[in-house]
């Protein structure tokens, strides 16, 4: 269903000695102090750490929303540290899919059009957009909710729409930031099952969370603390 031939066969994410320092006036605040890791295609990894650990900064860097102060970052073979704003936007559009804690759907727009939004920015024609968005909604189990607006959907359904939107451009990596943070435990379970299912069908998933329950299904956990990777462990799935 996804992927097909990628440009390169190496790791989908390769980070080397990534440093990120924020400047507040004359004060320099280090957020990341040298992070390195590789992520292979098809992996399901959780990035964990307490607040202030630098995991949000790492997430922004992986998501190409920000540039590192130093170090190199290759995404799907592309050295993204050297790219300009528009090129980074293109990377976010084609290579990355974002899922946010707060769903962040467009309120006035129905589920189908929300899912089709990245295709719109990619310049896909309206018929093709609707066809692919409808197929993607079907894949997350919301084929019958296409014309509903976000306010007419439950939290779990809204997050499914957001996942469909993240996947519609067939990205190299699905990036989820506390995806169950706004959901009750029952709905969280359903959503985690969906992530697992997506990973089993070949999707590469990075999930940023502080909640061990949410990270349960990940086959690898990267722990961040004080701007450094303090543990990187693979585990058998339960």
């Amino acid at each position: 269903m996804n992927n097909g031939a990628r440009a390169v066969d190496g790791p989908v994410i390769a980070m080397r000695d990534i440093v990120k320092t924020y400047k507040t006036g004359t004060l320099e605040v280090p957020a990341l102090r040298g992070v390195s890791f590789d992520l292979a295609r098809g992996e399901y990894v959780a990035i964990m750490g307490p607040s202030g650990s630098g995991k949000s900064t790492l997430m922004n860097l992986i998501g190409c929303l920000d540039r590192p102060t130093s170090g190199t970052y290759h995404l799907d073979g592309i050295d993204v540290g050297t790219l300009g704003d528009d090129a980074l936007a293109a990377i976010r559009l084609k290579k990355l899919g974002f899922v946010f804690q707060g769903f962040n759907l467009l309120a006035r727009t129905n589920a189908l059009k929300n899912v089709a939004l990245p295709l719109f920015y990619a310049g896909v024609g309206v018929r093709e957009r609707d066809r692919r968005a409808a197929a993607m909604l079907g894949e997350v189990g919301l084929g019958d909710r296409a014309t509903h607006k976000p306010s007419e959907l439950s939290g779990g359904q809204q997050q499914r729409v957001a996942i469909a939107r993240a996947l519609v451009n067939d990205p190299a990596v699905l990036l989820a930031d506390e995806p169950t943070g706004n959901l009750d435990s029952q709905t969280s379970e359903e959503l985690m099952a969906l992530f697992l299912q997506l990973n089993r069908s070949g999707r590469t998933i990075i999930m940023v969370t502080h909640d061990p329950e949410t990270a349960r299904n990940a086959e690898r956990v990267i722990r961040v603390r004080d701007g450094l990777v303090v543990a990187d462990e693979s585990k058998m799935r339960i």
Binding site: D86, K94, F100
Partner: protein, 402 residues
């Protein structure tokens, strides 16, 4: 390109519809400004049409000659029929020159009588009002100084209330009788109560003999052969007459173009003033639009963050907000256009037509051009900055915005 913009337009409509009251109040200034400018443009055109209608009786090929009124001894500048004849003989391009006379007398026809204006005319074809009875003055009438007259519809109604064909019956003015040879129909245009000449027209030769004799003249009428040379002819006539008076008197001429251009000047000034007021209200409206767009950008900071995270380029975000501002402006200018044309049309239809008899055509294309032009300018000037602010937002900051 259109495919890229289409969804933005739909989206923008949604945003504006969600904030209906706010959107309406935002564009109210634009509506008023555009409506005022367009209405005054249409009225200006209608006024020009009305003036043309009023001047319908004034021939393109004729001009009047007067002594200049700002001179020391006005009476010395008077001229005689003989002077006019000399001018006619000396200056080229003149077909006919004759005194422009007007006297008011009691005119009697049978038992009916009325005080009417009597003026002189030549046989050279004027763009006159069509006749309902009889014929116009002929060359023979002028050559033989015949006692004949053409009367206007006003005179006809006063003197022949029964409405029968009066051709062949005679009018008595003082001790003299004039045979009616023609009757003008009601004017089709130019009903303003300005008329050049009286209601009874007689050959100028007859007029010279009956009313003028050798009395001094203060006005003469000239008809030219080549209308494109009328200005040169007017200059030559003034120069010749000045020489004839040994340079002691000044003269002025007056043709249809002089008259209509002086009236046009008044309306042009009026149009300019209202257009300036309209322009001020458009600036105010533009600032309102900028303000509301900045509010909209702030309100939707998070949405902008999401769009950018998903992969929208800065230009695509810019385009979205720019199109929203453009749409706001276009809707405002569109409503202004309809109101402006409506008001202009109503005033034209019920006020100007009543006094001038001219039904002006609505300048649709010009009005639409004004509305679209204003919308574009307002958007360019006041919509760019908010859209630029939106485009420049940092996605991380924007996503964190509550």
């Amino acid at each position: 390109m259109l495919r890229q913009v289409g969804p933005f337009v739909g989206e923008a409509f949604g945003v504006l519809a969600d904030n209906r009251t706010r959107s309406f109040l935002t564009i109210l200034g634009l509506i008023i400004g555009v409506a005022a400018v367009i209405a005054i443009q249409i009225l200006g055109k209608g006024m020009a049409g009305a003036v043309t209608g009023v001047l319908g009786s004034l021939n393109d090929r004729s001009f009047y000659l007067f002594p200049n009124q700002q001179q020391a001894d006005f009476t010395k500048a008077s001229f005689t029929v003989a002077d006019i004849d000399k001018v006619h003989a000396a200056v080229p391009n003149i077909v006919v020159a004759f005194p422009a006379g007007y006297v008011a007398r009691v005119v009697t026809a049978g038992h009916e009588h009325a005080r009417l204006g009597i003026s002189d005319a030549s046989d050279v074809a004027f763009a006159r009002v069509p006749l309902i009875f009889g014929r116009n003055l002929s060359h023979d009438d002028v050559a033989s100084a015949a006692h004949v007259c053409v009367i206007t519809n006003v005179a006809f109604k006063r003197l022949f209330p029964a409405g029968n064909d009066p051709v062949g019956s005679s009018l008595r003015i003082g001790e003299r009788r004039y045979v009616v040879i023609g009757v003008e129909g009601p004017p089709t245009q130019g009903i303003l109560p300005i008329k050049f000449g009286g209601d009874i027209s007689i050959p100028y030769t007859t007029y010279e003999h009956d009313f003028l004799r050798s009395r001094p003249l203060f006005a003469a009428q000239f008809i030219v052969a080549d209308v494109s040379q009328i200005a040169q002819t007017e200059a030559a006539v003034k120069a010749y007459l000045r020489t004839l008076k040994a340079g002691r008197s000044e003269y002025q001429t007056f043709d249809r173009k002089t008259f209509s251009s002086s009236i046009d000047g008044i309306f042009a000034a009026l149009t300019l003033v209202v257009t300036l007021i309209g322009a001020v209200s458009l600036v105010v409206a533009g600032i309102g639009i900028m303000n509301i767009m900045l509010v909209s950008v702030t309100e939707r900071t998070r949405e902008i963050g999401v769009r950018k995270a998903i992969g929208a380029t800065s230009f695509q975000v810019l385009a979205q907000f720019f199109i929203e501002a453009l749409l706001l402006s276009l809707v405002g200018c569109g409503i202004g256009l309809v109101i402006g044309v409506g008001v202009g049309w109503l005033v034209d239809r019920f006020a100007l037509v009543a006094i001038s008899g001219v039904v002006p055509s609505l300048p649709w294309l010009q009005s639409i051009a004004i509305a679209v032009g204003f919308a574009t300018i307002v958007t360019l000037v006041f919509g760019t900055y908010p859209a630029y602010r939106a485009a420049r937002l940092d996605p991380i900051e924007a996503l964190r915005y509550e």
